[in-house]
Symmetry: C2
Subunit: 423 residues, 2 copies
Amino acid sequence: MAQKFQTLPGFRDFYPADCAARNYLFGKWRSVAQAYGFVEYDSPILEPTDLYKRKSGEEIVHQLFCFTDKGERDVSMRPELTPSLARMAAARQRDFKKPLKWFSIGQFFRYEKQQKGRLREFYQFNCDILGEPSPAADAELVALSIDLMRSLGFGPDDFAIKLSDRTAWSIFIEQAGIDAEKTDAFLQVIDKLERDKAEKLDEKLGELGTSLEAVREFIDSGTAESECESLQQILGDLKARGMSDFIRIDLSIVRGLAYYSGPVFEVFDIGKGMRAVAGGGRYDQLVQLIGGVDLPATGFAMGDVVVTDLVRETPAANEQFEQAIKKAEAIDAFVIIADEEQRPQGLQTVQQLRESGLRVNFPLVPAKIAKQFQSAGQQGAQLAIIIGSEYPELTIKDLSTRTEVVCDINDLSTKMTELLRPQ
Amino acid sequence: MAQKFQTLPGFRDFYPADCAARNYLFGKWRSVAQAYGFVEYDSPILEPTDLYKRKSGEEIVHQLFCFTDKGERDVSMRPELTPSLARMAAARQRDFKKPLKWFSIGQFFRYEKQQKGRLREFYQFNCDILGEPSPAADAELVALSIDLMRSLGFGPDDFAIKLSDRTAWSIFIEQAGIDAEKTDAFLQVIDKLERDKAEKLDEKLGELGTSLEAVREFIDSGTAESECESLQQILGDLKARGMSDFIRIDLSIVRGLAYYSGPVFEVFDIGKGMRAVAGGGRYDQLVQLIGGVDLPATGFAMGDVVVTDLVRETPAANEQFEQAIKKAEAIDAFVIIADEEQRPQGLQTVQQLRESGLRVNFPLVPAKIAKQFQSAGQQGAQLAIIIGSEYPELTIKDLSTRTEVVCDINDLSTKMTELLRPQ
């Protein structure tokens, strides 16, 4: 027997229900970003491998889908969007008024060990503000992430924002007398605060001239909130938007990547997992590194896999999700051809309804009336339009209320508008 | 100086205006397919290379972005959707009622020489009906392709459908006494009827036991329309839908690919280029070949590059296109902070408007009022909401009519609904 083809490991087929779920998420990403005045862009799925090395070093190659193309170019399927954004923004920054408020929805690829919440391809929402150094831009992104989560049906019991600022640690670094050149090494220890053992942390901090105790004291002291100006400004801004309840200052969040330069934040689920659902921060030097143009920037990203898991686990969010998927797959009306003699009139009716913007199906081949009603039900049709020998008189049946009305073909559009529940 | 990164040849950056253009096309593809009762699905962008070889032979490898992944798998970035569709449909066909009416919008990759209308990546709309052998399914697809073109603003002077049927040629093959086993060889000559020289064609047809004259006579005779049942049925169906004017029977269309087995069609532009904008046909054996399941199928595809060129060249279509792009990038309102003391109230107002679903921007940092009005205009805002020292009283200014109204913050939502033109 011939070989059966299978989906590659870590890749997904999107059957209609999966695709509707994906599109539901895309719709929320898009509509909230647009409400915030962001415009959509996209980058190529394939880029020169050097673009990713420039940002992340040679190491990155191990997790890339990279290869040499037929023109001997080293290319990679994109593992993330930021390097492409930096390239694009630098190349044409003079054509756009600052700040740029840009978002993107796209697919990304990483050759990684699969585990729960991690595949080899995933979709990601990226949202960035370029050309604005003020913490007001960071606050705008934190607010957007909150509204995104709310639009998905999550409330303050489901998620919160861990907010931090790398510059808050410079207050500590100065107080503790640590060499400013050791800032990166210090932040790398802080990044592991929740994961490494106390002994190991204390040893590493000792080498830098401080201690775990001093670090913990600084975190608990509230010094950052009262003395770090950018954090203060973000907190004040979010308070004015009525979003204070979602914010947790958490200085242990520094987000590993060396290129962050200011405020950083993570959206995390309060429930069981404490998973990071989204995250980002300010990266004022990256556009310079990639594109040779000085353009301050801040942004965040949300993947599709973790947030969709979270939606499914959260009853209120899941109900909204399920209903949207059901609606996405449902048609408005099914035209029942009760008399094959009237098939041309049936086709004409189908055409008329579709031209008015409705989603309409009909039996492509002759079928018993009972079977046609069954199809109408399976496809989630709200109305059945029955075309029989009485044509141009026809019957409209509401499949949920089981009520019927008889009307003339010329009045069909008007009747339909009355009968269809507001969308 | 550091290397400047560039987009790979044949790949596109989608800056906001490009992305809006792309999304406009996606929106038309999606809404027309949904009006026809199709549901959306998608396949992985990376598939085993063997999947494409099974359908198209070893030859295909020359135009693939293919490579060996880190797990030693021969993989390819998808050059087309049909093999994946056949794999997916075969794997789960029992879970779905027949016929399956599925569409997809996705990106594809071919390592080809670039030329006008051809890049190394492109988007494609794929639309297929599986599980229905009747020509009624083919008619449904032809109708959909017509409505797709009309939704883009094209009329009967801009495009037409070339309709043919491979089985119509079996009438000729029988009449001419050609060996039925030579059908494929014969159709390959017919496929080149418009491109090869008469002499060459006549020679090849002579080898098959017929002549170019006999072929031309058969085409002109109208025998196909009157004796080929599937063509007759498709024509009758499209007539009932009021679409006859778009149809040209053209038996020279057989669409090279060997796997087509019945009706085939092309959407082509009537104007200068006579370009094929979309095309497809019936392929009843392919799902069996790929997935080992007997499932009759018919489908067509439309790429984004040629149709977008055509939109830009066609005034009526282009005007609709430009307006949609402008609208996609425009915000509804810009909140002007006329007095920095009132910034918190401004942020609160922004939040309130965004929560009501409007697209709203505001100055992230203090700016002169004139500059804020300028930003509002540049972003296509219809309304400016001016927050100043009179707050909770504020002013709404319509930026196109230049009229102003003063209202209380509590009445803002109501006033906005009145003022915003229906979307």
